[in-house]
Subunit: 228 residues, 2 copies
DNA sequence: TCAACTCGTGAAGATTCTGTGCAGATCAGT
DNA sequence: ACTGATCTGCACAGAATCTTCACGAGTTGA
């Protein structure tokens, strides 16, 4: 992220002091920032500047934030961070319905705004990445069955063939316990087999790669995948 | 994409609010959308409207999403985007399993749905292009299936007939792992063949021409083309 | 608490798989 | 038929992976 080109953020806020404060902080964080002070200006600037994210105040002259949100989302999907004067439930619900992805209630800390913006951008990055493949997500774990690849919090993890098959078998019913016999049948194709430590060994190997806590041992029964 | 005729999408979802929300958004994205609210209606509309893609909720009145999927796939192969209520359940099996489907877990972001739909359609486009005569780009690799020519970063690479067929077979599903058996069946037309090093030899030759790193070995499974 | 049972672990040997060089077979064009 | 290009698949080495075993740690139920 340090070497990638700067993200552009459109800040839409009619209050000059707040607008400038947000802008300054985001620039300090390394973002490109363009500013708009009303609805029509926001929609126009959105088309002109192609921002990666929009910070949008609900209360605006011209038409309100929801309308702006609708219009820019109609142009192109973009993550929107709504800013509301009070935590009015209705406003928030409408905003989320119109396509806002997150919202913040005034007064807010700049640090929180920055943190949420970064989180939102990360989320979208992952969504775009995900769109390219047929991956399944379970907590921080992402499994692409076709490519036989696995990621843990964005970092790819190398699994052997057996480890991968074992994971997929467990992931097919997250949280559900599978007996060793069931696993030996489904993963190894040894129906009726038992009395071997083979499953345990591979569970150990799998745990060492995706985190011990993600495979729960159910004493006397078997193993289950945790969605964390 | 701007000049091509609009793609038609069939949205199958019994919840009116969600159905309409998806429909509205997809129409805003420029798709033609037809709506169905239950299994029988979906199957009938599928035949009548010839959609390019189906968005399908698992939970449906009549018969469930899997059944609908089976019936429409029986009529004509079509990309299906499944929507599941929660990511537990054996529903994930469908996502992990073989089918040509992608899936999404509720609640989902409209943007993500749109991104994945576009990705699915691109995948299909690519397969069609590969079968036809237009050139496809995969990372720095450009493949013109009609002319049977390949370029790597603008420089043409000479491939033998077998190498080319092998590349096209791998390129039809970039990133996806294909077994040697599958390759022997599809490229060599020897269904059921195995126990030979023929595939390996041609992979070696292909690698020497397009770069070793572009063909990923999946130990114990097969090979996959990387899009780099 | 204690015995009985179950599970985790590390290591080692066995097994399987892949990369590679090479040679004979096959093919296409002359 | 000749020649050069291509294809096939074997043999081998090295790498990767799998399985099993022994034993200590952990868990359960009486």
């Amino acid at each position: 992220m340090s070497t990638s080109p700067a993200r552009t953020i459109l800040v839409v806020e009619d209050e000059p002091v707040i607008n400038q404060a947000i802008t300054d902080r985001l620039r300090a964080e390394g973002f490109e920032v363009v500013q708009a002070w009303d609805g029509p200006g926001a929609v126009e600037l959105f088309g002109a500047s192609s921002p990666d994210l929009v910070v949008l105040d609900i209360m605006l002259p011209g038409y309100d934030g929801h309308e702006v949100c609708r219009r820019i989302q109609a142009q192109r999907p973009v993550p929107v961070m709504m800013v509301t004067a009070r935590d009015d439930e209705a406003d928030i619900l409408v905003g989320l319905g119109v396509g806002a992805d997150d919202y913040l209630t005034k007064p807010f800390r700049m640090r929180e705004l920055v943190a949420r913006i970064n989180a939102l951008l990360r989320r979208v990055d992952r969504a775009v990445e995900l769109a390219g493949s047929r991956a399944v997500e379970l907590g921080r774990l992402r499994i692409d069955a076709g490519a036989r690849r696995v990621w843990l919090s964005e970092v790819e993890v190398h699994l052997t063939a057996t480890e991968f098959d074992l994971l997929v078998c467990l992931a097919a019913t997250p949280g559900q316990v599978l007996t060793r016999e069931k696993l030996l049948a489904d993963v190894w194709g040894w129906p009726g087999a038992s009395g071997t430590r083979t499953v345990d060994s591979h569970v150990k190997a799998l745990r060492s790669k995706i985190g011990t806590e993600r495979v729960r041992t159910v004493h006397g029964v078997g193993y289950a995948l945790e969605t964390i």
